[in-house]
Amino acid sequence: MLNWLRLSGRYLFEHLEAVFNVSFGDRYNPFYYLGSLAFFFFWIVAVSGLYLYAFFETSMLGAYSSIEYLTVDQWYLGGVFRSLHRYASDAMVITMGLHMLRELVMDRYRGVRWFSWFTGIPLIWLVYASGIGGYWLVWDQMAQYIAVMTSEWLDWLPIINEPMARNFINQASLSDRFFSLLAFLHIGIPLMLLLVMWIHIQRLSNPRTNPPRVLMVGSILAMLVLSLIKPAVSQAPANLDLSVSTIDIDWFYLFVYPLMEKTSAGTLWILASAISLFLALLPWMPPLLRKPAVVVNLDNCNGCERCYEDCPYSAITMEPRSDGLDFEKQAMVQDSMCISCGLCVGACPTATPFRRKTDLIPGIELPDHPLKALREAIIEQTATLEGDQRVLLMGCDYGVNLDKVALPGVVAIKLPCVAALPPSFLDFVISRKHADGVLLTGCHAGDCHERFGIEWLEQRLAGKRDPMLRKRVPRERIVTFWAGEEGGRKLLAEVSRFQQDLAVLGPYTPPQSDVRRRASGTEESA
């Protein structure tokens, strides 16, 4: 049931994102950068907040008037900062919510990834506490509403005897010191939020906390335009002797209060707790996800660190040698952090099919996708192809669905991530003429399910990242096509085009080399 929900959700996202891919391009689609966009909006809120804080007066009358001064008298600077502060907070709720939903439907919350998901749940509470606290500081009608409702909500808990709501009984009951407390909380809670944001990204290598520059520029411009068109304003000043009647609430944060009014304080507590608990426990709901971690083979590991540099999830560390060999380091895998994507296998220099078949055990390998089996599968399957335009299609578990591919002259092989393929295999396929061309396919560019697969593979092909595809391998015979799960139809067109190109190229001939020249020289003289 959960599976069905997830697949339908994924379908919806993929089709919505297809629209954005046409507009933004698939390397800059904002849906592929939701987490880093949330971070970015946080920074806008933090910086604008610093400015506002300098002007805020912590007293019952001063709170409202100091903010009015910024909004009205200093509309061009303070007012803009106030609007940025408010709208970026709203934007953060949107991006955080979408980010959470997306990771859920893309199945990136279970198994080893539980840590990232689990640490995200407290972030929701902290974001809401920060936002609600912020609106409270203004001490307008909306803040009064928040004060009364929040204290009634908190009073439902039998923890503290004296009702907090007594502090907001009437004008006489409130003191200036309360505003000092609120201002302190509104700095402290967002700092806690930043701390938990940092914890949230701990198990990722090179965590992306900044979205691509074009998205940063676009977002901040959008925020500025909104701030100028519709400046954030306060409502009428608070007066605890009069009840609040109608309020223009910020539904992104404050929807909880009308909800509480419609139901009750107790219901809101139960709902919030139950939903949080349910979300927090999701990674452990059946079916459990557990793929075997990669395994290091010390006989073939000399501590070159290529796997360590390529692992997207910080699951590999370099440790002092334990087998007595003269090498300084060896790679070590933390099973509890290994996603089993195989990018490390693609990086290992000993993961090459030119080795003796029985010896093809690389320094690091996926136990359920042994390289020996991959080599055999490639040889066996391509042997069924005929003609001059034989294409080996290599893809991954999350990109284009290869099971449905049935084209003449094409065989398809799947890997956990297409970047788990060592470039040496491409050399092998072309130079041993198992196929005339290789088409590498996977997720959308910018949306590799394992974060860096597409980037690393493209860099390896371009000779910018080790292990590089040898220059002698003709690049016209290796093409990439990043289209995601819904790229099935486009893939067919791409394969046809590739096959036409291969027909023009003709069969593979090895490059001219000294070896060949010397050989012909020897033969002639002999």
Binding site: G25, Y87, A91, N161, E162, P163, I169, L240, I247
Partner: protein
Amino acid sequence: MIQLLRYTSQLLLYGAFIVTIGYASTAPTHTHIGDNKAVIKLTLKHAGQRLEACRQLSEEEQARLAPNMRVKEVCPRERSPVKLELLIDGELMYSATLTPGGLSRDGNSNTYQRFVVPAGKHALLARLNDDVHVKGFNYEKEQDITLSPLQIFVIDFRTDSDGFIFN
């Protein structure tokens, strides 16, 4: 041409984003209570009477105590629960027995209740009992009030002001 289309579509999508934020950050307006309504808040922070009277210690009892802990009088801590009732226009709106706070039940009895009523004239009757040894209610106050729209009327209690305070 394609570039122009792409930029335009991006502009539209950003536009949709900020329109969503711009709208939902202040609309639709929420009505908390109608402007023909008023609010009565009933609150209490009061310690009931002690359950047992204080008693004097005899000479032997005092001698048994360590010299630095010798006191003449001992007062048992537990306090009486407070029974509180509020009637608005003759209808019993609230009736509760409030246990004193604290592990030894020697703290204040607390409550906070908010009632939304139509603005205008109302007859209020508040009464409480803070001593189990007394039958019925030992504090009571009755008053007719006229509430203007959105007015908040507070009913509190203080022993030094001789009972209920109607504000």
